[in-house]
């Protein structure tokens, strides 16, 4: 099909939108409400172009034969500017342009707009008391991207448009604060927002305070997914593994010890594989669901009380490590646990919520997202890319390739299968990779024979896909669910942007990390062997249960 684009004849494929054709031809059209992988809703009218003399949103208009498209006429520019100014008036005027990195502010700067002729429509109360996800509706420009993420990716719709016309706004039901709703804290809305009107609760100040306090022994641990994404915050290509520099940065920030959440992940696998084998033997609630994703847990607690007995009782890796720090490590070092502060660097906003759960006590004091950690490093003027690589501290710094996999969808399943198979059968796996659970398909599944029992497993990532898998959950013995698409590497606390292209690079990095390690099975972690011997006792035993397992509650809608 042929069209005319800014005076040039262009051949193009049927079914594409004007925006896609423009992108294919390197013609810039600014967009705001449009997001990759979503159905265009054409709310913001920033992407207007002239089609045969009429203004049309390019993101939602499909090309037709012989269309005459102009992207930069006076009419287009004037209308675009006005729409931008109206939005900018709603967004804080104080957030103005040059210094701000908001997508909106960047476009406004690119358009050369220096002054805003309009006044904001309204003043709203803030919603900032939540532990994980907070909102400033005064910054919101009603683009609807968060609503799309929450509804179409996550199938939650904790926020939606309410009212109409000039009163229209994005809000949880009955204008409640988000943390008093069934929001699962996944933070996918944060990744979508072009103006930081939804963000994570900031805990950097508290952490800085503790770092400056000589009486506190401040321990930091980093999640498996951070080393594959943190580098992006400092200009590294997506998929750059920055483990050594990440550890060095934590030391430069003044943390007393830098431990590895991956050790906690190995511990989770040892306990969880044991729990699975137990459940299969005793026929207690099957399938068993993984429990390391706090967004998924909160989903079950709100929407699926019937599945609570199916959740593994294992604490998540950073909580397991937290409890080891405040018991085993404290004892060994002769430090009063009250003087220890544990900070977890996580790709996740729901972990902030998790760490405040009553059932989990004070084992983890603060959770910082990947973004917050990067912010700390920048605040301290640490030149991240020039740092010399360093190793995690003893004794909680040794981990296996299985733990590395936790960052990618299917990784917990693969790690658990390696250990469950080998510990239950006493045999070695010929091939460690479980290709059935790798990759980014919505739902993955497979089966394996363990002592003549066929164990069927399923994996889903992103709550929309998870809900689909739940339709047939009874077909399985073991199911891994991660609330975020792609798994933790796509978590709501990760660097922005987090697109599929970027996520796939991060996943690749994680599989490379596993492949490059000599120890690749959690049950072979030498440090954990010692800790079970010296401190924890039996796998799944009384002490292990007391320290490493937890329970769940029924929550109302």
């Amino acid at each position: 099909m042929q069209i005319t684009l800014n005076g040039n004849k262009v051949e193009c494929e049927k079914g594409k939108t004007i925006l896609e054709i423009a992108q294919d031809n390197d013609i810039r059209i600014p967009t705001l409400c449009w997001q990759e992988d979503f159905h265009p809703e054409a709310r913001c009218r920033i992407c207007l172009v002239e089609v045969n003399g009429k203004l049309m949103p390019s993101c939602s208009t499909k090309i037709q034969k012989d269309m005459q498209i102009e992207t930069e006429t006076e009419k287009v520019k004037k209308t675009r500017r006005m729409n931008l100014e109206l939005m900018m008036a709603d967004h804080l005027k104080s957030c103005f342009i040059d210094t701000s990195n908001h997508e909106l502010c960047r476009i406004v700067a690119e358009e050369g707009i220096k002054n805003i002729r309009f006044e904001p429509k309204k003043q709203h109360g803030k919603d900032t008391s939540g532990r994980a996800v907070v909102r400033d509706p005064n910054k919101c420009i009603s683009c609807g991207r968060c609503v799309q993420a929450c509804r179409d990716t996550q199938n939650i719709t904790a926020i939606d448009f309410a009212y109409r016309g000039h009163k229209s706004k994005v809000t949880p039901y009955f204008e409640k604060d988000l943390h008093k709703t069934y929001c699962i804290k996944c933070g996918q809305c944060i990744l979508s927002c072009p103006v930081e009107a939804i963000v994570e609760q900031d805990h950097t100040e508290q952490v800085i305070k503790h770092l400056a306090d000589p009486k506190k022994h401040v321990v930091v641990q980093t999640a498996p997914a951070i080393r594959a994404s943190l580098g992006e915050e400092f200009g590294n290509k997506p998929g750059t593994l920055v483990k050594g520099r990440m550890v060095a940065a934590a030391k430069a920030l003044g943390f007393d010890r830098v431990f590895d959440t991956n050790l906690g992940a190995d511990l989770t696998i040892i306990e969880e594989a044991n729990e699975l084998i137990d459940r299969v033997k005793n026929n207690s609630p099957l399938p068993m669901f993984t429990s390391c994703c706090p967004g998924w847990i909160k989903y079950v607690e709100h929407f699926r009380h019937d599945l609570i007995p199916h959740l593994s009782t294992c604490k998540s890796p950073h909580e397991m490590l937290g409890v080891l720090v405040k018991t085993y490590y404290a004892e060994k070092q002769g430090i009063n646990p009250e003087d220890i502060i544990v900070v977890s660097i996580m790709p996740c906003t729901a972990k902030k919520f998790e760490s405040a759960r009553e059932e989990l006590g004070n084992d983890v004091d603060y959770v910082l997202t990947t973004r917050e950690f990067a912010k700390l490093i920048k605040l301290k003027n640490i030149d991240f890319n020039q740092l010399d690589e360093q190793d995690f501290d003893d004794p909680l710094g040794i981990s296996t390739g299985a733990a590395a996999l936790f960052g990618a969808t299917g990784g917990v399943m693969e790690a658990a299968l390696r250990t469950a198979y080998e510990t239950a059968t006493g045999k070695s796996l010929a091939k460690l990779e479980f290709d059935q659970v790798r990759g980014t398909e919505a739902i993955k599944n497979g089966s394996i024979h363990i002592n003549n029992i066929e164990v069927k497993f399923g994996v889903a990532h992103g709550m929309m896909n998870a809900c689909e898998l739940l339709e047939s959950y009874k077909d399985y013995h073991f199911i891994e669910i991660m609330a975020c698409p792609g798994g933790c590497i796509g978590g709501g606390g990760q660097p922005i942007p987090t697109t599929w292209e970027i996520k796939k690079k991060r996943i690749e990095a994680i599989y490379n990390e596993d492949a490059g390690l000599s120890l690749r099975k959690s049950h072979e972690n030498p440090v954990l062997k010692k800790i079970y011997e010296e401190f924890l006792g039996d796998i799944g035993g009384t002490k292990a249960h007391k320290l490493l397992h937890t329970g769940y509650v029924e929550r109302e809608l």
Binding site: I159, D160, A162, L557
Partner: protein, 146 residues
């Protein structure tokens, strides 16, 4: 109560008619109703709230005995509806969407009610009052209060 909601859902099926029925029955749509409705229909609470606030004939707060809808669309606007609105707000001591403490009045400011030729106009409990003046309004309010 819950089985009555079941009946409404059963008979109306679609969200908007269900909400309209609840509005007619209770005079407003309560948080509790929205929650029950969400559990039964699996439509998310925030989505139902979005619909319940989108239509001006639905309300999510309890209403007073007399419900005033003042039009603020173009014809009424150019004929001074703003002054009329300000006057009523002062007389009743409430703003749009609010209900007086004695539960006598609820005020809504909304779109055209089809009386553009006799603007400014309003509805009192569904009945049209047009060519409004401050004096007329005083009379209407007095009548409701007595």
């Amino acid at each position: 109560m819950p089985d009555k909601l079941d009946k409404i859902i059963e008979s109306k099926k679609l969200l908007l008619p269900i909400l309209t029925e609840i509005q007619d029955r209770d005079g407003y749509i309560s948080e509790d109703n929205v929650r029950q409705l969400s559990k039964k229909t699996k439509i998310p609470l925030s989505e139902i709230y979005g619909v319940a606030t989108f239509y001006s004939f639905l309300t999510t707060k309890p209403e007073g005995r007399n419900i005033i809808h003042i039009c603020n669309s173009p014809s009424c606007y150019v004929n001074g509806s703003l002054n009329i609105i300000e006057f009523i707000e002062k007389e009743l001591g409430i703003k749009s969407g609010q209900t007086t403490e004695d539960k006598l009045f609820t005020l809504h400011i909304g779109s055209c009610i089809g009386c553009c030729d006799k603007a400014p106009a309003m509805l009192l409990n569904g009945e049209v009052h047009d060519k409004l003046t401050e004096k007329k309004i005083k009379g209407i309010i007095k009548k409701c209060r007595s």
